[in-house]
Symmetry: C2
Subunit: 478 residues, 2 copies
């Protein structure tokens, strides 16, 4: 790491550390004052100054990394005109703790400067009666926009679009456009194109800023505009829009209604947040967490967040346990089976998770069609068959070596191969069935495949062992 | 879904389907010709025309979703001047299959029009002798850039930056800048700012296009430029840069060397790809896949890709099996233990994965400091303790009901609680230790925590049962 880089990287971390140090000092002074029973009149000016130097997104990060009492102390010290920006940056879980600490007056002040789409983003967390008052205080256009944004589902384009549109007519020259822009005091962020509309606000095309700059100012907008831009509709799925942004390298794009009227704009920053959030949610769900969790959330909140998946897991584990219970007579006769059975189940789970992850990913990328499903299934089964034979033989040989029984080794190898085939089959079927039933194929798929390979693995292994015993091939030993 | 939207969404899917249909027809015609022993002279013009209407990124998607023979058929039909763009869009695994199908002449033609950073991106997959010839054919500046990009690690800013910089001086007016831009024939994509440099190419500031458009053309660049932009260094970690892009909503940013000289540019599209790739890789690794896998990869390639993690899993499962083996005397005396033990291990694994996912995520967001580690550990232990008592009691009661032994129920509850505490402890320690040893905390963490909670769970449960038996509390039944 170069010096120059270290300096820059440190600076943010340094500033965070300095703030943490100030908080510690403050705590010590408070303790001391308490011991000596003196009044405690802290001077927060240093802390406040440090905070003022930080970008709202950085303050948001800092607040997320602090325990609740320290977080609320800093929150009180932040200049109130920055409240809104910070609230929009923090995670939902942390936002709750901050809003809970604000009085009505503060919430209204923070919300007042927000754009319609930001306000709609915040609305679910604002107490209901307060929200009503807030909506009443908006002008009619703004209120309409907030209501429009709230009328869409969280995963629809309409909920993510903003209304900061710079639109122009197509019958003016670029020179006129340049003069018009100069008269605007502000300019929405992420403006890489202007929207060309007719007098009824119907979208006619887009004028990339690039073309505005590169072309002769005397040319007409109609001559240089692009008339086949990538457009989106408010009802469209936001994840599809994010994929299109990524695919076509977009920075902003128009949103039009069914009649072709320009109603809003999507920008890359919202799409990046969406991509990040979606993968985060998937990861949390795969690990058995219902939602993102503030690391300093109360114990009760954490227990609640983890409850559901633990309960589901308990049920699947119980079923697996009952499957084993079916064979207690067999295990009693050969206790080595009890030691070996988790291996069969475990490898099956691992292999099944590999298959299901592949399939879920391919589905997300639209790579799976009815035509290639069987080919894919065939491939997965072949891969599992090879893995089963190879690893089953390895572990079968180990079993033979440990328990001095070649028939036990064969049971092990057969069970492993069959369980891996089951894992491949279910790894393809489960996500496809989820999609058929209109559900997210990633959600809970890991728990389901593990449940199948556990119960299935125990059944196959102990069932085979019982069969071999009945046939007199597997010796009954202590 | 609105009609208008459906039409647009369908159109791409429709076009893909039409192409698939054409391929099927071609296959049928080929079979027929073979049966009738006639020569087969296919007419690909329709297919070729359909392909021409598609964006390179869309063709890339289509190629990824096709089995190898069909993929290579389309690849041959694509106009050769689009080869390069498509190669840059497909996944690494698919890119290998395409390049393997090209002759030297085609590869050189595709690479010739590429920018230096794109060429560097492709270089590892080009045969070595060919690459040398290609490098020799470049002009010296271009060659230097490719060599520079190749000199950095894949995860460094230097490997991702491009060289398409529009730089200006600070002592000219905006009018001059506007005229200068108009003289440029092309303009790099994602240009939301111009870079202000002195005569030694030292970065002085940036001129956002926004300010160029909003301000009076008579003003000097020095008056309106921003002199404290977010900058990056080539040695810096690319993931950190991506986080900064997300945090500060950047579209492009300058890359400067240690002396402050402007050497390149980062753009949001590269960062989005990076974010997506990183989360993808993590997900694949968590599921036990070494790398992304072409869904139509050969069976052998797939087996190879999944080999490593299955082998690791086999070893951990074997260790768990040996732990059970230690207690075969105990299991022989009470076979119900064999049925119950996977429950203790399973819930421990689930709970441990919840903790480790939380911690890895908090670490990625820099939320963990030495000061709050113990507080976090304390919280995780408390959550686990509560979950252990609650779910342990539930399953303990079930065990009592099924096996009519209250002492077995108590062993179950105690073992569950202890294993969840172990899961919480290791869920915090494992990722921290990984970081201490300079490794990615996400890589293999799931396998490790499961290994600990399996072996640990079996040991705790069977150990407690043995202890209770020795003490005469747990009855020995068949």
């Amino acid at each position: 790491m170069s010096e120059a880089e270290a300096k820059i990287q440190e600076s943010l971390q340094d500033r965070f550390d300095q703030i943490r140090e100030l908080i510690t000092q403050y705590h010590k002074a408070e303790e001391l004052a308490e011991e000596e029973k003196k009044p405690f009149n802290p001077d927060y000016s240093k802390l406040q100054q440090k905070l003022e130097e930080l970008h709202p997104a950085d303050i948001a990060d800092l607040l997320e990394a602090l325990p609740l009492t320290d977080r609320l102390l800093l929150w009180q010290l932040v200049k109130s005109d920055r409240d809104g920006d910070i609230l929009l940056e923090v995670s939902d879980a942390v936002r709750d703790t901050l809003i809970a600490d604000m009085d009505d007056h503060e919430i209204i002040a923070a919300a007042k400067d927000m754009d319609a789409d930001e306000l709609a983003d915040l609305a679910p967390e604002i107490p209901n009666d307060l929200l009503q008052g807030l909506m009443d205080s908006l002008d009619s256009q703004q209120r309409e926009r907030v209501e429009s944004a709230l009328s869409y589902e969280e995963d629809q384009v309409g909920a993510l679009m903003d209304f900061e549109i710079v639109s122009i007519r197509n019958d003016v020259t670029l020179e006129v456009v340049l003069r018009y822009l100069r008269r605007l005091k502000e300019f929405p962020s992420h403006t890489d194109k202007l929207f060309v509309v007719d007098k009824n606000a119907l979208l006619k095309g887009i004028l990339p800023i690039k073309r505005l700059l590169l072309n002769d100012p005397d040319k007409l907008v109609a001559e240089v505009m692009a008339d086949d831009p990538v457009i989106f509709h408010p009802q469209e799925n936001a994840a599809d829009a994010a994929q299109a942004f990524e695919r076509y390298d977009l920075i902003s794009a128009p949103v039009v209604d069914d009649k072709g009227k320009l109603v809003g704009r999507l920008t890359i920053d919202e799409m990046v947040d969406l991509i990040r959030e979606k993968t985060e949610t998937e990861r949390l769900n795969m690990a058995g967490l219902r939602e993102e969790e503030d690391i300093f959330a109360s114990v009760w909140h954490s227990v609640h967040n983890r409850w559901t998946w633990l309960a589901i897991n308990l049920i699947t584990a119980f079923i697996a346990s009952r499957v084993i219970g079916l064979f207690d007579g067999t295990i009693e006769k050969l206790v080595a089976l009890a030691a070996l059975m988790p291996i069969v189940a475990g490898i099956g789970g691992n292999s099944g998770n590999q298959t299901i992850t592949m399939i879920v990913r391919a589905m997300a990328l639209d790579q799976i069609t009815t035509a290639n499903t069987f080919r894919l299934l065939g491939k997965e089964l072949t891969v599992s068959f090879i893995n089963g034979l190879v690893w089953g033989s390895v572990i079968g040989f180990v079993a033979y070596y440990l328990y001095d029984s070649w028939s036990l080794g064969i049971v092990m190898m057969l069970a492993m191969t069959l369980n891996l085939l089951l894992a491949a089959l279910m790894g393809v079927i489960i996500p496809m069935a989820m999609v058929k039933f209109g559900r997210d194929p990633a959600l809970g798929s890991s728990v389901m495949i593990t449940a199948v390979t556990d119960s299935g693995g125990f059944f196959i292994f102990l069932g085979l062992a019982t069969l071999f015993m009945t046939l007199g091939i597997l010796p009954i030993t202590g």
